[in-house]
Symmetry: C2
Subunit: 205 residues, 2 copies
DNA sequence: GAGAAAAAACCGACCAGTTGGTATAGTAAA
DNA sequence: TTTACTATACCAACTGGTCGGTTTTTTCTC
Protein backbone atom coordinates (compact mmCIF):
# COMPACT_ATOMS: atom_id res chain seq x y z
CA UNK A 1 0.00 0.00 0.00
CA UNK A 2 2.70 2.45 0.89
CA UNK A 3 6.01 1.46 -0.58
CA UNK A 4 7.04 -1.34 -2.83
CA UNK A 5 9.86 -0.22 -5.01
CA UNK A 6 13.27 -1.06 -3.59
CA UNK A 7 14.44 2.51 -3.39
CA UNK A 8 11.75 3.38 -0.89
CA UNK A 9 12.41 0.18 1.00
CA UNK A 10 16.06 1.11 1.22
CA UNK A 11 15.25 4.59 2.48
CA UNK A 12 13.01 3.17 5.15
CA UNK A 13 15.60 0.63 6.19
CA UNK A 14 18.21 3.33 6.50
CA UNK A 15 15.97 5.45 8.67
CA UNK A 16 15.07 2.49 10.83
CA UNK A 17 18.72 1.84 11.52
CA UNK A 18 19.47 5.47 12.24
CA UNK A 19 16.69 5.60 14.77
CA UNK A 20 17.30 2.26 16.39
CA UNK A 21 21.08 1.86 16.39
CA UNK A 22 22.39 5.38 16.09
CA UNK A 23 23.47 7.44 13.15
CA UNK A 24 26.90 5.90 13.04
CA UNK A 25 25.37 2.52 12.39
CA UNK A 26 23.74 3.76 9.26
CA UNK A 27 26.41 2.24 7.05
CA UNK A 28 25.89 0.88 3.59
CA UNK A 29 26.42 -2.67 4.73
CA UNK A 30 23.94 -2.34 7.55
CA UNK A 31 21.35 -0.68 5.39
CA UNK A 32 21.64 -3.41 2.79
CA UNK A 33 21.33 -6.06 5.47
CA UNK A 34 18.32 -4.36 7.04
CA UNK A 35 16.59 -4.13 3.69
CA UNK A 36 17.50 -7.75 2.95
CA UNK A 37 19.35 -6.75 -0.15
CA UNK A 38 22.92 -7.40 -1.10
CA UNK A 39 25.32 -4.55 -1.00
CA UNK A 40 25.59 -4.70 -4.74
CA UNK A 41 21.85 -4.28 -4.92
CA UNK A 42 22.07 -1.19 -2.79
CA UNK A 43 24.86 0.27 -4.85
CA UNK A 44 22.87 -0.37 -7.98
CA UNK A 45 20.15 1.96 -6.79
CA UNK A 46 22.38 4.44 -5.01
CA UNK A 47 25.89 4.70 -6.44
CA UNK A 48 27.09 6.65 -3.40
CA UNK A 49 26.00 7.08 0.17
CA UNK A 50 25.16 10.69 -0.51
CA UNK A 51 22.74 9.51 -3.14
CA UNK A 52 21.02 7.36 -0.56
CA UNK A 53 20.77 10.25 1.82
CA UNK A 54 19.49 12.59 -0.82
CA UNK A 55 16.82 10.04 -1.64
CA UNK A 56 15.91 9.76 2.04
CA UNK A 57 15.55 13.49 2.30
CA UNK A 58 13.32 13.56 -0.72
CA UNK A 59 11.26 10.57 0.29
CA UNK A 60 10.53 11.61 3.85
CA UNK A 61 10.40 15.27 2.94
CA UNK A 62 7.70 14.65 0.37
CA UNK A 63 5.87 12.52 2.86
CA UNK A 64 5.75 15.27 5.42
CA UNK A 65 4.94 17.90 2.85
CA UNK A 66 2.06 15.92 1.41
CA UNK A 67 0.69 15.41 4.87
CA UNK A 68 0.86 19.10 5.63
CA UNK A 69 -0.69 20.11 2.33
CA UNK A 70 -3.59 17.76 2.86
CA UNK A 71 -4.18 18.97 6.38
CA UNK A 72 -4.11 22.56 5.27
CA UNK A 73 -6.57 21.86 2.51
CA UNK A 74 -8.90 20.25 5.00
CA UNK A 75 -8.72 23.11 7.45
CA UNK A 76 -11.57 25.54 7.04
CA UNK A 77 -10.19 28.14 9.45
CA UNK A 78 -8.49 31.33 8.45
CA UNK A 79 -6.05 32.21 11.20
CA UNK A 80 -3.37 29.81 12.39
CA UNK A 81 -4.10 27.46 9.59
CA UNK A 82 -0.50 26.51 9.09
CA UNK A 83 0.19 25.88 12.75
CA UNK A 84 -3.03 24.00 13.22
CA UNK A 85 -2.40 21.77 10.25
CA UNK A 86 1.18 21.26 11.31
CA UNK A 87 0.15 20.25 14.80
CA UNK A 88 -2.57 18.04 13.50
CA UNK A 89 -0.12 16.20 11.31
CA UNK A 90 2.16 15.58 14.28
CA UNK A 91 -0.27 14.93 17.09
CA UNK A 92 -3.25 13.72 15.15
CA UNK A 93 -6.70 15.19 15.19
CA UNK A 94 -7.65 14.12 18.65
CA UNK A 95 -10.90 12.55 17.65
CA UNK A 96 -11.13 11.46 14.06
CA UNK A 97 -8.04 9.49 13.40
CA UNK A 98 -7.47 8.41 16.93
CA UNK A 99 -7.84 4.84 15.85
CA UNK A 100 -7.09 5.26 12.19
CA UNK A 101 -3.92 3.24 11.63
CA UNK A 102 -1.30 5.10 9.74
CA UNK A 103 -1.91 5.63 6.14
CA UNK A 104 -1.81 9.07 7.62
CA UNK A 105 1.33 8.48 9.56
CA UNK A 106 1.96 10.85 12.35
CA UNK A 107 5.64 10.00 12.35
CA UNK A 108 6.12 11.75 9.04
CA UNK A 109 7.72 14.84 10.53
CA UNK A 110 9.67 12.79 12.99
CA UNK A 111 11.07 10.72 10.16
CA UNK A 112 12.03 13.72 8.13
CA UNK A 113 13.74 15.29 11.09
CA UNK A 114 15.77 12.15 11.64
CA UNK A 115 16.62 12.00 7.97
CA UNK A 116 17.83 15.58 8.09
CA UNK A 117 19.97 14.96 11.14
CA UNK A 118 21.42 11.88 9.52
CA UNK A 119 22.10 13.89 6.40
CA UNK A 120 23.92 16.66 8.22
CA UNK A 121 25.88 14.15 10.23
CA UNK A 122 27.15 12.51 7.09
CA UNK A 123 27.64 15.52 4.92
CA UNK A 124 26.56 19.00 5.91
CA UNK A 125 26.21 20.08 2.29
CA UNK A 126 23.64 17.57 1.29
CA UNK A 127 20.69 19.40 2.81
CA UNK A 128 21.46 22.52 0.82
CA UNK A 129 18.47 22.06 -1.49
CA UNK A 130 16.16 21.60 1.47
CA UNK A 131 17.37 24.80 3.03
CA UNK A 132 15.78 26.91 0.35
CA UNK A 133 12.60 24.95 0.53
CA UNK A 134 12.27 25.39 4.26
CA UNK A 135 13.17 29.05 4.00
CA UNK A 136 10.37 29.52 1.52
CA UNK A 137 7.78 27.93 3.77
CA UNK A 138 9.14 29.87 6.71
CA UNK A 139 8.85 33.16 4.86
CA UNK A 140 5.34 32.41 3.84
CA UNK A 141 4.40 31.65 7.41
CA UNK A 142 6.05 34.83 8.56
CA UNK A 143 4.34 36.89 5.91
CA UNK A 144 1.24 36.68 8.05
CA UNK A 145 1.51 39.93 9.96
CA UNK A 146 -0.89 38.89 12.67
CA UNK A 147 0.14 35.40 13.64
CA UNK A 148 3.22 34.73 11.60
CA UNK A 149 5.74 34.79 14.40
CA UNK A 150 3.42 32.97 16.75
CA UNK A 151 3.01 30.19 14.24
CA UNK A 152 6.75 30.02 13.71
CA UNK A 153 7.23 29.62 17.44
CA UNK A 154 4.78 26.75 17.45
CA UNK A 155 6.68 25.20 14.59
CA UNK A 156 9.93 25.60 16.48
CA UNK A 157 8.46 24.11 19.63
CA UNK A 158 7.38 21.04 17.71
CA UNK A 159 10.82 20.74 16.18
CA UNK A 160 12.26 21.05 19.67
CA UNK A 161 10.01 18.22 20.69
CA UNK A 162 11.29 16.17 17.77
CA UNK A 163 14.81 16.87 18.93
CA UNK A 164 13.92 15.72 22.43
CA UNK A 165 12.55 12.58 20.96
CA UNK A 166 15.69 12.00 18.96
CA UNK A 167 17.74 12.51 22.08
CA UNK A 168 15.57 10.12 24.04
CA UNK A 169 14.41 12.87 26.37
CA UNK A 170 10.79 12.10 25.66
CA UNK A 171 8.80 9.36 23.98
CA UNK A 172 5.64 9.53 22.00
CA UNK A 173 3.76 7.44 24.51
CA UNK A 174 4.64 9.69 27.43
CA UNK A 175 1.59 11.57 28.64
CA UNK A 176 3.60 14.76 28.48
CA UNK A 177 3.95 14.35 24.74
CA UNK A 178 0.21 14.59 24.25
CA UNK A 179 -0.04 17.35 26.83
CA UNK A 180 2.38 19.43 24.85
CA UNK A 181 0.32 18.86 21.75
CA UNK A 182 -2.79 19.96 23.55
CA UNK A 183 -1.14 23.07 24.91
CA UNK A 184 0.16 24.04 21.50
CA UNK A 185 -3.16 23.41 19.84
CA UNK A 186 -4.85 25.67 22.29
CA UNK A 187 -2.78 28.51 20.95
CA UNK A 188 -4.20 28.03 17.52
CA UNK A 189 -7.79 28.18 18.59
CA UNK A 190 -9.80 31.33 18.04
CA UNK A 191 -9.36 33.72 20.93
CA UNK A 192 -11.78 32.65 23.57
CA UNK A 193 -11.79 32.45 27.27
CA UNK A 194 -13.88 29.32 27.47
CA UNK A 195 -12.26 26.05 26.88
CA UNK A 196 -14.27 23.95 24.44
CA UNK A 197 -12.80 20.82 25.87
CA UNK A 198 -15.80 18.54 25.95
CA UNK A 199 -18.52 19.31 23.50
CA UNK A 200 -20.52 16.33 24.72
CA UNK A 201 -22.53 18.21 27.25
CA UNK A 202 -25.58 19.91 25.87
CA UNK A 203 -28.23 18.50 23.63
CA UNK A 204 -26.82 20.25 20.65
CA UNK A 205 -24.96 18.03 18.34
CA UNK B 1 40.90 31.80 31.26
CA UNK B 2 38.32 29.15 30.99
CA UNK B 3 39.89 25.80 30.48
CA UNK B 4 43.41 24.64 31.02
CA UNK B 5 43.45 21.01 31.85
CA UNK B 6 43.87 18.77 28.84
CA UNK B 7 40.62 16.95 29.34
CA UNK B 8 38.66 20.13 28.81
CA UNK B 9 40.82 21.04 25.85
CA UNK B 10 40.07 17.67 24.32
CA UNK B 11 36.35 18.10 24.85
CA UNK B 12 36.43 21.49 23.21
CA UNK B 13 38.46 20.20 20.31
CA UNK B 14 35.99 17.38 19.78
CA UNK B 15 33.06 19.75 19.74
CA UNK B 16 34.83 22.12 17.40
CA UNK B 17 35.32 19.34 14.93
CA UNK B 18 31.75 18.12 15.22
CA UNK B 19 30.47 21.61 14.52
CA UNK B 20 32.89 22.50 11.78
CA UNK B 21 33.43 19.25 9.89
CA UNK B 22 30.39 17.19 10.73
CA UNK B 23 29.76 14.50 13.26
CA UNK B 24 31.43 11.83 11.18
CA UNK B 25 34.71 13.69 11.35
CA UNK B 26 34.75 13.52 15.11
CA UNK B 27 37.19 10.63 15.14
CA UNK B 28 39.79 9.99 17.75
CA UNK B 29 42.62 10.80 15.39
CA UNK B 30 41.06 14.06 14.32
CA UNK B 31 40.28 15.10 17.87
CA UNK B 32 43.84 14.42 18.95
CA UNK B 33 45.15 16.39 16.01
CA UNK B 34 42.79 19.30 16.66
CA UNK B 35 43.84 19.45 20.30
CA UNK B 36 47.49 19.18 19.27
CA UNK B 37 47.92 16.09 21.34
CA UNK B 38 49.22 12.73 20.32
CA UNK B 39 46.72 9.98 20.02
CA UNK B 40 48.41 8.24 22.89
CA UNK B 41 47.79 11.33 24.95
CA UNK B 42 44.13 11.26 24.08
CA UNK B 43 43.84 7.60 24.95
CA UNK B 44 45.60 8.24 28.21
CA UNK B 45 42.79 10.56 29.31
CA UNK B 46 39.93 8.77 27.63
CA UNK B 47 40.47 5.05 27.23
CA UNK B 48 37.50 4.78 24.87
CA UNK B 49 35.56 7.10 22.63
CA UNK B 50 32.52 6.72 24.82
CA UNK B 51 34.57 8.08 27.69
CA UNK B 52 35.39 11.13 25.63
CA UNK B 53 31.76 11.64 24.80
CA UNK B 54 30.65 11.19 28.37
CA UNK B 55 33.18 13.81 29.37
CA UNK B 56 31.88 16.16 26.70
CA UNK B 57 28.35 15.74 27.94
CA UNK B 58 29.45 16.50 31.45
CA UNK B 59 31.64 19.41 30.50
CA UNK B 60 29.19 21.24 28.27
CA UNK B 61 26.27 20.20 30.39
CA UNK B 62 27.79 21.74 33.47
CA UNK B 63 28.62 24.82 31.45
CA UNK B 64 25.05 25.34 30.40
CA UNK B 65 23.74 24.49 33.83
CA UNK B 66 26.04 26.95 35.55
CA UNK B 67 24.99 29.62 33.14
CA UNK B 68 21.34 28.99 33.80
CA UNK B 69 21.79 28.89 37.55
CA UNK B 70 23.59 32.20 37.51
CA UNK B 71 20.97 33.82 35.33
CA UNK B 72 18.22 32.57 37.56
CA UNK B 73 19.96 33.86 40.64
CA UNK B 74 20.27 37.28 39.04
CA UNK B 75 16.64 37.39 38.03
CA UNK B 76 14.51 39.27 40.54
CA UNK B 77 11.19 38.39 38.94
CA UNK B 78 8.82 35.79 40.20
CA UNK B 79 6.93 34.43 37.25
CA UNK B 80 8.64 33.02 34.18
CA UNK B 81 11.97 33.11 35.89
CA UNK B 82 13.16 29.91 34.35
CA UNK B 83 12.15 30.82 30.82
CA UNK B 84 13.52 34.33 31.15
CA UNK B 85 16.85 33.10 32.43
CA UNK B 86 16.97 30.43 29.81
CA UNK B 87 16.31 32.91 27.04
CA UNK B 88 18.78 35.35 28.46
CA UNK B 89 21.47 32.71 28.45
CA UNK B 90 20.82 31.95 24.80
CA UNK B 91 20.07 35.35 23.31
CA UNK B 92 21.93 37.55 25.75
CA UNK B 93 20.45 40.33 27.75
CA UNK B 94 19.78 42.64 24.89
CA UNK B 95 21.65 45.57 26.35
CA UNK B 96 24.27 44.70 28.87
CA UNK B 97 26.39 42.03 27.29
CA UNK B 98 25.70 42.99 23.74
CA UNK B 99 29.36 43.67 23.28
CA UNK B 100 30.68 41.66 26.16
CA UNK B 101 32.84 38.98 24.61
CA UNK B 102 32.06 35.58 25.88
CA UNK B 103 33.14 34.75 29.32
CA UNK B 104 29.41 34.48 29.48
CA UNK B 105 29.21 32.43 26.36
CA UNK B 106 25.89 32.43 24.69
CA UNK B 107 26.82 29.32 22.79
CA UNK B 108 26.67 27.26 25.95
CA UNK B 109 23.33 25.69 25.17
CA UNK B 110 24.21 25.36 21.54
CA UNK B 111 27.36 23.50 22.50
CA UNK B 112 25.56 21.17 24.81
CA UNK B 113 22.97 20.44 22.17
CA UNK B 114 25.65 19.55 19.68
CA UNK B 115 27.38 17.40 22.26
CA UNK B 116 24.16 15.56 22.91
CA UNK B 117 23.50 15.00 19.23
CA UNK B 118 27.04 13.76 18.79
CA UNK B 119 26.58 11.48 21.75
CA UNK B 120 23.37 9.95 20.47
CA UNK B 121 24.84 9.59 17.02
CA UNK B 122 27.71 7.57 18.40
CA UNK B 123 25.88 5.58 20.98
CA UNK B 124 22.26 6.17 21.94
CA UNK B 125 22.81 4.78 25.44
CA UNK B 126 25.44 7.23 26.50
CA UNK B 127 23.03 10.04 27.32
CA UNK B 128 21.14 7.87 29.77
CA UNK B 129 22.47 9.74 32.83
CA UNK B 130 21.49 13.06 31.29
CA UNK B 131 17.97 11.88 30.71
CA UNK B 132 17.21 11.82 34.40
CA UNK B 133 18.80 15.17 34.92
CA UNK B 134 16.75 16.83 32.21
CA UNK B 135 13.61 15.11 33.41
CA UNK B 136 14.19 16.57 36.83
CA UNK B 137 14.53 20.11 35.56
CA UNK B 138 11.55 19.60 33.29
CA UNK B 139 9.41 18.42 36.15
CA UNK B 140 10.41 21.34 38.28
CA UNK B 141 9.48 23.72 35.50
CA UNK B 142 6.18 21.96 35.04
CA UNK B 143 5.44 22.02 38.73
CA UNK B 144 4.56 25.67 38.29
CA UNK B 145 0.82 25.44 37.86
CA UNK B 146 0.46 28.85 36.31
CA UNK B 147 3.22 29.07 33.75
CA UNK B 148 4.82 25.67 33.79
CA UNK B 149 3.64 24.49 30.43
CA UNK B 150 4.15 27.88 28.84
CA UNK B 151 7.73 27.90 30.01
CA UNK B 152 8.27 24.40 28.73
CA UNK B 153 7.01 25.49 25.35
CA UNK B 154 9.49 28.31 25.33
CA UNK B 155 12.21 25.86 26.21
CA UNK B 156 11.14 23.60 23.38
CA UNK B 157 11.03 26.46 20.92
CA UNK B 158 14.60 27.37 21.78
CA UNK B 159 15.67 23.78 21.38
CA UNK B 160 13.92 23.75 18.05
CA UNK B 161 15.91 26.80 17.13
CA UNK B 162 19.08 25.01 18.15
CA UNK B 163 18.09 22.14 15.93
CA UNK B 164 17.54 24.51 13.04
CA UNK B 165 20.96 25.92 13.64
CA UNK B 166 22.48 22.47 13.63
CA UNK B 167 20.72 21.71 10.39
CA UNK B 168 21.89 24.95 8.87
CA UNK B 169 18.34 26.25 8.51
CA UNK B 170 19.23 29.40 10.41
CA UNK B 171 22.34 31.15 11.60
CA UNK B 172 22.96 33.17 14.67
CA UNK B 173 23.64 36.30 12.68
CA UNK B 174 20.39 36.10 10.76
CA UNK B 175 18.02 38.87 11.83
CA UNK B 176 15.32 36.29 12.30
CA UNK B 177 17.36 34.65 15.02
CA UNK B 178 17.21 37.75 17.17
CA UNK B 179 13.59 38.33 16.25
CA UNK B 180 12.69 34.94 17.58
CA UNK B 181 14.50 35.73 20.78
CA UNK B 182 12.59 38.95 21.12
CA UNK B 183 9.27 37.28 20.48
CA UNK B 184 9.97 34.61 23.04
CA UNK B 185 11.14 37.11 25.61
CA UNK B 186 7.96 39.05 25.24
CA UNK B 187 6.09 36.03 26.47
CA UNK B 188 8.00 36.12 29.73
CA UNK B 189 7.25 39.71 30.47
CA UNK B 190 4.67 40.64 33.07
CA UNK B 191 1.18 40.63 31.65
CA UNK B 192 0.84 43.30 29.09
CA UNK B 193 -0.64 43.04 25.72
CA UNK B 194 0.50 40.18 23.57
CA UNK B 195 0.10 42.55 20.71
CA UNK B 196 1.19 46.09 21.43
CA UNK B 197 -0.57 47.28 18.32
CA UNK B 198 -4.17 46.75 19.20
CA UNK B 199 -4.82 48.43 22.54
CA UNK B 200 -8.10 46.80 23.37
CA UNK B 201 -10.00 43.82 22.31
CA UNK B 202 -11.87 42.70 25.32
CA UNK B 203 -10.79 40.37 28.05
CA UNK B 204 -7.32 39.05 28.19
CA UNK B 205 -6.08 35.68 29.14
C1' DG C 1 3.08 -17.94 -28.44
C1' DA C 2 8.30 -19.78 -28.40
C1' DG C 3 12.63 -18.42 -28.02
C1' DA C 4 16.59 -15.43 -28.53
C1' DA C 5 18.61 -11.01 -27.35
C1' DA C 6 19.05 -7.23 -24.54
C1' DA C 7 18.53 -4.65 -20.75
C1' DA C 8 17.61 -4.09 -15.93
C1' DA C 9 18.15 -5.81 -11.34
C1' DC C 10 20.98 -7.91 -8.29
C1' DC C 11 24.92 -10.63 -6.04
C1' DG C 12 29.09 -11.00 -3.25
C1' DA C 13 34.04 -11.16 -3.35
C1' DC C 14 37.26 -7.79 -3.25
C1' DC C 15 39.90 -3.20 -2.50
C1' DA C 16 42.34 0.64 -0.37
C1' DG C 17 41.74 3.58 3.30
C1' DT C 18 39.97 4.51 7.96
C1' DT C 19 38.15 3.27 12.39
C1' DG C 20 38.57 2.57 17.51
C1' DG C 21 41.82 0.63 20.17
C1' DT C 22 46.51 -1.60 21.75
C1' DA C 23 51.34 -1.72 22.63
C1' DT C 24 55.65 -0.15 23.58
C1' DA C 25 59.67 2.55 24.11
C1' DG C 26 61.05 6.90 25.52
C1' DT C 27 60.84 11.57 28.08
C1' DA C 28 60.19 15.27 31.31
C1' DA C 29 58.85 16.79 35.56
C1' DA C 30 57.22 16.59 40.50
C1' DT D 1 58.91 6.36 41.43
C1' DT D 2 54.77 7.96 39.80
C1' DT D 3 52.24 10.85 36.73
C1' DA D 4 51.61 12.64 32.42
C1' DC D 5 52.47 12.54 28.47
C1' DT D 6 54.96 11.96 23.05
C1' DA D 7 55.74 9.31 19.10
C1' DT D 8 55.12 5.55 16.38
C1' DA D 9 54.02 1.16 14.90
C1' DC D 10 50.47 -1.91 14.72
C1' DC D 11 45.88 -4.48 14.69
C1' DA D 12 41.32 -6.52 13.42
C1' DA D 13 37.18 -4.80 12.07
C1' DC D 14 34.84 -1.92 9.32
C1' DT D 15 34.21 1.93 5.79
C1' DG D 16 32.47 3.53 1.18
C1' DG D 17 33.06 1.97 -3.21
C1' DT D 18 34.40 -1.23 -7.45
C1' DC D 19 33.77 -4.98 -10.49
C1' DG D 20 32.92 -9.23 -12.93
C1' DG D 21 29.37 -12.19 -13.03
C1' DT D 22 24.46 -14.05 -12.44
C1' DT D 23 19.65 -13.89 -12.39
C1' DT D 24 15.28 -11.87 -13.68
C1' DT D 25 12.46 -9.21 -16.55
C1' DT D 26 11.35 -6.93 -20.72
C1' DT D 27 11.60 -6.50 -25.63
C1' DC D 28 12.12 -8.11 -30.18
C1' DT D 29 11.65 -11.58 -33.75
C1' DC D 30 9.55 -15.30 -35.91
Amino acid sequence: MKAKNPRDLLCEAALRIAGRDGLLSMTLDNVAKEAQVSKGGLMYHFPTKDDLIRAMLEYFGDDAEQMLIRKMAEDPGARFRFARSFLSSVFGDGEEDRDAPDHLKREALESMMLAMIAAVANNPNVIEPLRGKVAKIRDRVLSDRRDGMEQLLIWLAVDGLMLWQFLGLIRRQDPLFADIGTALKKKTEPKKKTKPKRPSKGGVA
